[in-house]
């Protein structure tokens, strides 16, 4: 595709990205420079909030806490996620498709629902795990005490890790399965032990994918406010995103402080996004791709088989079976209880859901927004990445960078920017404003994921088609796009899943006709009706599974093969 032929779409796309994704960010930055009143912003300018946030000990401590937490969560997620990816991507363990599905299952649960599930499971006195263990241990010990306690810093790390491991896994296993195994074979023939081969050959070869996933997890971990906020208060620590939440929602409101803190996080995470871009760029230089996927001899686990099986089973127990079980249990209870008896059980939440017109509208809105957002982000993300990689003009590279910036801002602050952007448009108060917000918020994933897929397809293929007389558009449609079909499917899955779970922008932009399930869940949670919220959360999970199942059938691809460097096959 020539520079001339892309100039018009480039400018059009830049204008679109600027209007939808960047303008809200500018509104956020602008809001940091106003004087605050008790309930919002005054009309006169002030540097107070910016100075407070950027130089004040409190805000910097909250930032340090957020980054420290994100660092620990990233490290643990890497150890577990890469470990699982090695087992499933490189070893001779059986039932890989089943394990694949189970490892990625936490993607279908919103972190907040997962947190509520783990509160039900691991509260010290009434958590299901503790009460069951207590009942068993009481036979031998007089006062066994609690075994697990979720209301601690370790609890925060644990729950967050469970949700981020699938991302590390998906990025890494794709890379492992797409890798040429000739070097590993050579190392083995040269007498290297399996462990040495993994440490010296396998992991370094997929390091860029690991780094890319680590940075994504770090960014997402640093901006998360729900889990650290709810548990953190009990564990005695506060993170910057939670402080932003409090500044935005508690009286007196500190909107300028929230905006300034959002800008601070933006600066920190822009660095992360830039590093991630570097990591994926570097990956193209030294990852050798066979084009036929993993074709070498699998690593024989031998006596380590049970240890590997134990790791996988432990993860599935902690991330799938226990939280989904607890969520289901909660959704069937009238109120929270440590022990389950017939008196506390009820179906009323599910009956209430399926007989409520409001719920049915929210259900339809949710599915509509998920599918349409997924398709738009897939198409736009692919176009932007394609232009940045195949025709890397300054404008195209800038466009690719700008499009991923919204990922760097906490959803709540970005949501306010979206409100200010769309408030004066006819879209405000309609479902379309949510669609624009979702596209702005999830386009970064479209760009990031499609970029990794496109890097697998050498430009020579499309160039050959052009030399044979195909137009740039034909080469794109007939050669490049089909080769990255599974990557595009990955974008679609990922965006749809996140759109179904999206809350922070939805809760600020929804109107009476455009309610979505996540907002309803939040309202019931916020009203203290956790059991009804659990029922909605459970239904939400089923919708996600159904949507992804349908998309997998439609595209004939598997989620695990579509991420990371598995794209293109």
């Amino acid at each position: 595709m020539s520079a001339r032929s892309t100039s018009v779409p480039s400018w059009l796309l830049t204008a679109l990205v600027f209007g939808v994704a960047i303008l809200p960010l500018l509104f956020v930055i602008d809001a940091a420079f106003y004087r605050e009143t008790r309930v919002g912003l005054a009309t006169d300018r002030s540097w107070v909030a910016v100075i407070d946030v950027f130089t004040g000990a409190d805000y910097l401590r909250y930032l340090r806490n957020a980054l420290g937490l994100a660092g620990i969560v990233t490290a643990v997620s890497l150890v577990v996620g890469v470990g699982i990816a090695l087992i499933l991507g490189r070893s001779d363990i059986g039932h890989k498709r089943v394990w694949d599905a189970l490892i990625t299952l936490p993607l279908y649960l919103s972190p907040f629902a997962g947190l509520m599930a783990w509160i039900a499971l691991a509260s010290p006195k009434t958590g299901f795990i503790n009460t069951i263990i207590d009942a068993m241990a009481a036979v031998f010990i007089h006062e066994p005490g609690s075994i697990v306690d979720i209301w601690t810093f370790a609890g925060v790390v644990f729950v967050m890790t469970l949700f981020f491991c699938p991302l590390v896994y998906l990025f890494t296993v794709g890379s492992l399965r797409g890798m040429n195994t000739a070097l590993e074979e050579a190392a083995r023939i040269g007498g290297a032990t399996p462990l040495t081969t993994i440490m010296r050959i396998t992991l370094p070869m997929c390091l860029p994918s690991i780094v890319a996933s680590a940075l994504l997890v770090f960014i997402l971990g640093a901006e998360m406010y729900t889990i650290p906020g709810i548990i953190g208060s009990n564990a005695g620590f506060t993170t910057l995103p939670w402080r932003i939440f409090e500044d935005s929602t508690s009286v007196p409101v500190h909107r300028a402080h929230a905006a300034a803190a959002g800008t601070l996080l933006l600066l920190v995470t822009v660095l992360g996004v830039w590093l991630q871009g570097r990591a994926t760029r570097v990956s193209a230089k030294f990852v050798t791709l066979g084009g036929k996927g993993f074709n070498g001899r699998p690593l024989r686990l031998g006596r380590w088989r049970w240890a590997a099986w134990g790791l996988l089973a432990s993860y599935v127990l902690a991330a799938d079976i226990l939280p989904f079980g607890a969520l289901l249990m909660s959704s069937l209870m009238k109120f929270s209880a440590g022990t389950i008896s017939a008196e506390v059980l009820t179906f009323k939440h599910y009956l209430g859901f399926f007989t409520s017109e409001e719920m049915q509208i929210a259900l339809l809105n949710t599915v509509f927004l998920a599918v349409v957002t997924g398709v738009i982000c897939m198409a736009l993300g692919f176009m932007i990445s394609h232009m940045a990689l195949r025709n890397p003009t300054r404008l195209n590279r800038a466009l690719a960078f700008l499009a991923v910036l919204p990922v760097a801002v906490p959803g709540l602050v970005y949501g306010l920017g979206l409100v200010w952007t769309f408030l004066r448009t006819p879209l405000y108060g309609t479902i379309w404003v949510l669609l624009f917000a979702y596209v702005a918020k999830f386009l970064p994933y479209g760009v990031i994921v499609s970029r990794t897929g496109l890097m697998q397809v050498h430009p020579e293929l499309a160039e050959s088609a052009r030399m044979c007389g195909a137009t740039a558009r034909t080469a794109l449609a007939k050669i490049t796009a089909p080769l990255v079909k599974s990557t595009l499917a990955a974008v679609l899955f990922f965006v749809m899943l996140n759109a179904i779970k999206e809350l922070s922008a939805s809760v600020l932009l929804y109107s009476q006709d455009s309610e979505v399930l996540s907002v309803l869940t939040w309202h019931y949670m916020d009203s203290g009706d956790y059991q009804f919220a659990a029922a909605i959360g459970f239904i939400q999970t089923f919708i996600m599974l159904a949507v992804v199942f349908a998309a997998q059938r439609l595209f004939r691809v598997r989620l695990d093969r579509a991420f990371g460097h598995g794209g293109g096959r």
Partner: protein, 355 residues
């Protein structure tokens, strides 16, 4: 069977509707007709959703033709959204229900709320209304909510006698508190920090509460949930309406009102000056503050209405364990507005210092 049930329900609704409409005065009937012409209204709701949905449902059954669309936004978030929309001339809200009194006062002061004298206004005490502009739908009374399986009768009596008794060594590590910035969370601490209670409570009392090592929850409703589950024995961040909702569901909880008991007007209702459906909004607000609306609220939501002289048929008031508050402490809105942030920050810092 299902058809019979549907027909019976329809007949009951029809009966309810016709008898409610028959009781309307000529002016009310005229307003109802105008409301029906508008057909719908948007209610920005600040109180917990389930109870308000139940109230709206009763209204819609009694007055068919006026559909209520609810959007839940709490406290200052609602104020901000309303002000943002008003600034952009996007008029969506008809009736506002804000749980933050100062926010509603600001809206009235700045001329965003329609003057609307409800027919029952003479029976609403001054502390529960802002002129003829806004009305508190119900009162919130703070108390100690406890799990019946966790406290002995003696302990309940001890706690009921005075808030100070939470400092008894036997309660160390057994209760919870929320430093969340919300009205019901602040009310008891507003009282403790009252200069007239300086010797009885004051800052020192709050520090001593923190030294009791309570469990601290950022969300006040998580605090209640943990008592319901039995994780905590009791909470000092409790209030009657939220506890009543769980009690009605069968949760093993009860509540007591230590002396003195903070009480304040909550859920401030007003009609937006820019309401797209002003007649429907006025008709609905008139009903909410009527005997019928207030009794409905008490029955389905459990809070005490602010309208004087209404029948109190809240189910738990008939229980032997229930003792209505005897020594009421009315909040001071001026001091509330001035000290809210400072006092809650002090509480949060005191709690953190002991964690």
């Amino acid at each position: 069977m299902r058809l019979t049930r549907t027909l019976l329900a329809a007949a009951a609704s029809l009966f309810l509707a016709s008898s409610a409409q028959a009781a309307l005065t000529p002016d009310e009937a005229k307003l109802y007709e105008a409301a029906k012409q508008e057909g719908t209204l948007t209610w920005y709701v600040g109180a917990p959703l389930e109870g308000m949905q139940a109230i709206a449902k009763v209204f819609q059954e009694k007055y068919p033709g006026v559909n209520i669309q609810m959007m839940r936004m709490v406290g200052v978030a609602q104020y901000q959204r309303f002000m943002d929309e008003t600034g952009a001339k996007k008029y969506i809200a008809d009736v506002l229900q804000n749980t933050d009194y100062p926010s509603m006062q600001s809206l009235v002061d700045d001329g965003h709320i329609l003057e609307n004298k409800v027919p029952t206004s003479d029976r609403i005490p001054p502390q529960f209304r802002i002129g003829n502009f806004a009305y508190s739908q119900y009162t919130s009374t703070n108390g100690i909510v406890y799990n019946v399986n966790k406290l002995t009768p003696d302990e309940v009596k001890l706690l009921e006698a005075d808030w100070k008794n939470v400092l008894d060594p036997r309660f160390k590590g057994r209760f919870s508190v929320s430093p969340m910035k919300c009205g019901v969370c602040y009310a008891p601490f507003h009282m403790f920090m009252d200069p007239k209670f300086k010797d009885r409570y004051g800052a020192d009392f709050i520090r001593k509460i923190a030294a009791q090592k309570p469990a601290v929850y950022s969300e006040v409703l998580v605090t209640l949930d943990r008592v319901v589950a039995g994780e905590q024995d009791f909470t000092i961040s409790g209030w009657e309406a939220s506890a009543a909702t769980k009690w009605i569901d069968g949760a093993p909880i009860r509540w007591i009102f230590p002396h003195p008991t903070p009480i304040f007007g909550n859920s401030w209702l007003g009609v937006s000056k820019y309401a797209p459906h002003p007649n429907a909004a006025k008709f609905f607000l008139d009903w909410l503050m009527s005997d019928d609306g207030q009794e409905t609220m008490q029955r389905v939501y459990g809070s005490q209405g602010t309208l004087q002289g209404i029948k109190d048929d809240r189910p738990y008031t008939k229980e032997s364990w229930y003792h209505a508050p005897v020594e009421l402490y009315q909040v001071d809105w001026k001091r509330w507005d001035a000290d809210y942030h400072k006092d809650m920050d002090f509480l949060a810092k005191s709690l953190k210092a002991e964690q």
